[in-house]
Amino acid sequence: MRLNSIKLPHFNRAAESRSTELRLPPKVIISMSQHGGVPCKPVVQVGDDVKTGQLIGDSDAVMSAPIYSSVTGKVTGKTEIINIFGKIHEALIIETVPNQVMSEDIAPPVINSREDLIAAVKKSGLVGLGGAGFPTHIKLSYDLKINEVDTLIVNGAECEPYITSDYRTFIEDGDRVIEGMLLIMKHLNIPKAVIGIESDKPEAVMNMTKLAERYDNITVSALPPRYPQGAEKVLVYNITGRTIGKGQFPVSVGCLVLNCSTIAFIGEYARTGIPLIKRRITVDGSIVNKPRNIIVPIGTRASDVVAAADVRVLPDRAYMGGPMMGQTFYDPDTPIMKYTNALLLFAETKENVQTACIRCGRCVSACSMGLVPTDIEHAFDKKDIEWLKQLHVELCMNCGACSYVCPAKRNISEKNQLAKLFLRENKQKK
């Protein structure tokens, strides 16, 4: 049985642009919460001088990832930034100086065991670079007694329109992807690995196939370019045929799924020891004349990226992430986070005339989780808890496919999120 999926336009105009470094921004804003889990506390004071790669935020909690300064400069103040989980957290403002120097603390990690690898990944401040921002060391420290992981899946599906930052990782840093994979496979004792890439990126498929040739246990799987191919549950199902149960994770069915840029970072970190302080993002959108991939310091403000981009007019809408799951923000000084893979800029007003649901069933045929979004909308509007539970709304991953296909232009996926929140709040009350 095939999971439902939808066809999206690709708009991957930035695909063939080789990544370039953004010129040093005048200041960066670094949030203390750039990951799922416990936010960090600043370990530097306002007025301190910081060097590139210096630890500026940390936490004792396991479910957290340390934060490093992405630039050399002076901490000039504090502000507050909203993250993808909708929470507002403290952020440090660092004004840059022309003379950029690396912190002396940086040294390549020594990795000889599973524990070394997990500790190194935690120290690097790595989170899922594909967009979810889940601390990577948590993913790696699954319980060996419970989960027998036999397959490492490299998620390079990159199924959202516009974004090509993972594609550029395969083209530019393919070696690092393989190195990162070998490291993980060796120390976590995972016998085989599959690199999943959508088949409409033949150059990435070719490059990785060539690089993986020497390894019998690494294969490249060319996946149909359908949305949401890169969703963990969908990817695991399409590559291995294994179904991840409700409330379970990929490791429950023996798969460890990591984004390709995340793995490439592990490969790079093992060589240099430079923590996660910059990343590749795609800058595109209808007002961008020359779409491209750029490497930016974490904390670079969207307005600085726009200033460096070749835009026709100033945007009135901008998304961090893709057009399907990315988030809008109102403050143009909102910074690039660790998990931001694209900054998309638009200026047209959209005219979506909303009508009543016409029961066409397109949302049902679009949902890869097998949900009935139109019923969820009804159940939520009625605040019917039992019905919502029967409809398994918790499975919704907010991929947005239902809203995308809806001819009545209803915000169904938004309703799903509200319904999930409603169920959670109701559970807490009891």
Partner: protein, 315 residues
């Protein structure tokens, strides 16, 4: 830089809209209306155009009187009007057509909440109401190509289903050279429109194939003339344009199959055993009523919620 606009994801939408879907249905119905006009004369076109007009007026008035947002621009009332017009004999008095439009839009559609909320197909239900109220007029058929004939000569009481002795040839049936409702006689035009809807992704072939297939199978088992059964009455019109109505049919593919097979079985039973010569309208209406039940029990299994078989659980 100015502040930016906030909105929920996804930020892009497919091109399809309610209005465009309805427009496509109208485009698909056009060949049949044109064929009906050619076969039965201008009166047929007048009926169809007036039905569409009445339906729009009734919907607009209803919205004004009940202080609801105006919905006529979604074109669904036009579709209902055209479909109802196509389901009427060309000689029907105009006021009866207007009563049908009132029943379709006000009683069947708006009283139940408007577009997407009605449980029964408005055009089908209105046709049945007219049939039960004005049986004589609803079964006075115009002979094909009545040009120059006197009024008395132009009226025939017989359709092929009612009186097999006036059976036209297969080719005449296919092209529409026979008595019947305005929009149901020309099979060629209906298929053209149906295929257009399938190509544009408005309907899935599942419903018409199962509906028509079931009637074919029943006719074959019962020893009836299969091609004649398929081409007569409102089967092709009903299967492509009425049994595929979004609001009044199941939402899942499996549900649509059950719905279509049910329509085929009921149509065959009425045709072969009932007192009415034709059963397409009744079959669709009866199955409309069963849709909530079908939708309740036939639903997709969400990923990872299937109960494990004992073998898997033992692992």
């Amino acid at each position: 830089m100015p502040e930016l606009l906030i909105e929920p994801s996804p930020h892009i939408r497919a091109k399809a809209s309610t209005q465009k879907i309805m427009l496509n249905v109208l485009i698909a119905l056009f060949p049949s209306v044109a064929a009906g006009t050619y076969i039965f004369g201008l009166r047929a076109l007048v009926i169809v155009v007036l039905c569409a007009t009445f339906c729009v007026i009734f919907e607009a008035l209803f919205n004004v009187i009940t202080k609801r947002p105006q919905t006529v621009s979604d074109l669904s009332a036009v579709v209902t009007g055209v479909l109802l017009g196509m389901n009427l004999p060309p000689s029907l008095p105009i006021y009866m057509a207007a009563i049908g439009c009132f029943a379709a839009i006000v009683v069947v559609k708006q009283f139940f909440g408007g577009i997407g909320q009605n449980f029964a197909n408005p055009a089908i239900t209105a046709r049945i109401i007219l049939m039960l109220s004005f049986g004589k007029y609803m079964t006075s058929w115009t002979v094909p190509f009545p040009y120059g004939k006197s009024a008395a000569d132009a009226i025939s009481s017989a359709t092929p289903l009612a009186s097999p002795e006036v059976m036209p040839s297969y080719l005449d049936m296919f092209l529409g050279n026979r008595a019947g409702c305005i929009g149901e006689v020309c099979i060629a035009a209906l298929l053209l429109g149906g295929i257009y809807l399938i190509i544009r992704g408005i309907i899935e072939p599942l419903t018409p194939v199962c509906f028509i297939g079931t009637v074919a199978l029943c006719a074959f088992i019962g020893g009836h003339d299969v091609p004649m059964q398929l081409m007569s009455g409102g089967l092709i019109l009903g299967a492509f344009f009425m049994a595929t109505d979004y609001a009044t049919t199941p939402i899942t593919r499996a549900g649509k199959v059950i719905f279509a097979i049910g329509c085929g079985l009921i149509t065959s039973m009425i045709r072969f055993f009932g007192i009415y010569p034709e059963g397409v309208s009744f079959s669709i209406l009866i199955m409309n009523i069963l849709v909530p039940l079908i939708d309740r029990y036939v639903r997709p299994t969400p990923l990872g919620t299937k109960k494990k078989s004992s073998k898997e659980a033992a692992k």
